[in-house]
Amino acid sequence: MRNQKLLWMVEIAIFAAIGYVLDQLKFSIWAQGGSVSLVMLPIILIAIRWGLSAGLMTGLIVGLLNMTINPYIVHWAQALLDYVFAFTFVGFAAIVRKQVLDGVSGNRKNKIALFVIIGTIIGGLLRFICHTLAGAIFFKEYAGDQNAWIYSIGYNGSYMVPAIILTAVAAVLIFTASPRLIKKEN
């Protein structure tokens, strides 16, 4: 019998690596680019395929990869929020796991699509909140407290909102086209 724990670890590691690769491959859909990328897609995929702890772990590793390879640290709390919590929380997309897998078993594409979108929005919003908190800390420390929250929501929203939409669309297209990706064979 296959050692499931080992497969769990290796799939998480490799999909975290894919997350990092997709993050480098920015889709030039918007003029200013920002960080609109599909980095959240592999995290959501693993979250639905294996469950909450795997999703959180994949996110954590994506964040740590970013932190060890190319960090921008201006405050210890900002580092923790931007690199540790933000990506880890994308794993909470696993909340919709049961519904999505039900949809796959019953071959109901609308159900898959609906819950994948909900999951992506949940994970994406949690990440957005972390980046916004980190940004507010940055603006408070560096720019005085003038409108720190507005700056932060504006700056982070400018790339997070398109990123969530892009990820949701791509996730729906991919998961409905090949449901075998999210359903493990036993």
Partner: protein, 265 residues
């Protein structure tokens, strides 16, 4: 599209900083990020600046690479500088243009904040320029070891990080290959309306994901047949060695902290 992708910023070398143990460099960076906030006057910011220049000097990194690391955040530095110039109203008026008054306090705050920003970016950039991601992971594993008491899977985390780092270049190549294969079939990834571009992602990502699962299975099998049983009693291929240099580095940091505490107002 993929040519621009460079994996990490590590540049091999044999300077004092390169030779340090990743653990001492990580401890140094973590503590430095905290003590930077102790600075609050000319003396302490001056100290920080001199200390950072000294670290740059002994790391023997070409300034070009450091400036490169600063590039993505230069707009933020300018932004915060301008905010202080425009909105901090303390001290004497230095410049009066009618619509714009620059105060002495604003200019000083602006310069202080810019120094803090640049110093932080430089120190973290030096860490990644002189330490490969894999040594950072090895260092982190040891430093996070105490967290094992709280049942956190630190060994597994470090192993997954190492596997991910090992596979990033492979997966970049593979993504590139699949993109070229799809382009050869007439798919245009970089053009057309947004809708078409997003749709073009499916034939790129599905093969990438499928082959990644295959890779994961092969790797898991290979690890299993070689008898991988988790963290207990595992020996290491890459050994970390703490020597006098590392102690010196930590000592310098402690001294720096003491000076900052002493001179801050």
């Amino acid at each position: 599209m993929m040519e621009k992708m460079i994996f990490g910023r590590f540049i091999p070398g044999d300077s004092f900083v390169h030779q340090l143990d990743p653990r001492s460099k990580l401890i140094f960076t973590f503590i430095f990020v905290v003590i930077v906030f102790l600075a609050n006057n000319v003396a302490t910011y001056g100290l920080l600046l001199i200390f950072t220049l000294f670290v740059i000097l002994i790391s023997r990194i070409r300034l070009y690479f450091l400036i490169n690391g600063l590039k993505p955040v230069i707009i933020l530095v300018i932004f915060t500088f301008l905010i202080h110039i425009l909105f901090t109203r303390e001290g004497d008026v230095l410049l009066n243009l009618g619509f714009l008054e620059v105060y002495e306090g604003g200019l000083r705050q602006g310069i202080f904040i810019s120094i803090r920003f640049v110093v932080l970016v430089f120190v973290t950039t030096i860490l990644t320029l002189t330490t490969s991601p894999i040594s950072i992971t090895d260092g982190l594993e040891v430093l996070l070891n105490p967290l094992k008491k709280f049942k956190l899977p630190i060994h597994e985390l470090a192993l997954m990080m190492s596997i991910a780092l090992r596979f990033i270049p492979t997966l970049m190549d593979e993504t590139d290959k699949i993109m070229k294969a799809q382009m050869a079939r007439g798919s245009d990834l970089g053009a057309g309306p947004i809708k078409d571009r997003i749709k073009a992602v499916v034939p790129l990502l599905v093969p990438l994901f499928v082959s990644a699962f295959k890779r994961a299975e092969d790797l898991a099998t290979a690890m299993e047949v070689r008898g991988y049983r988790g963290g207990e009693g595992r020996t290491r291929y890459r050994q970390l060695k703490w020597d006098a240099k590392d102690t010196t580095c930590i000592f310098a940091l402690v001294l720096m902290t003491a000076l900052l505490v002493f001179f801050r107002s």
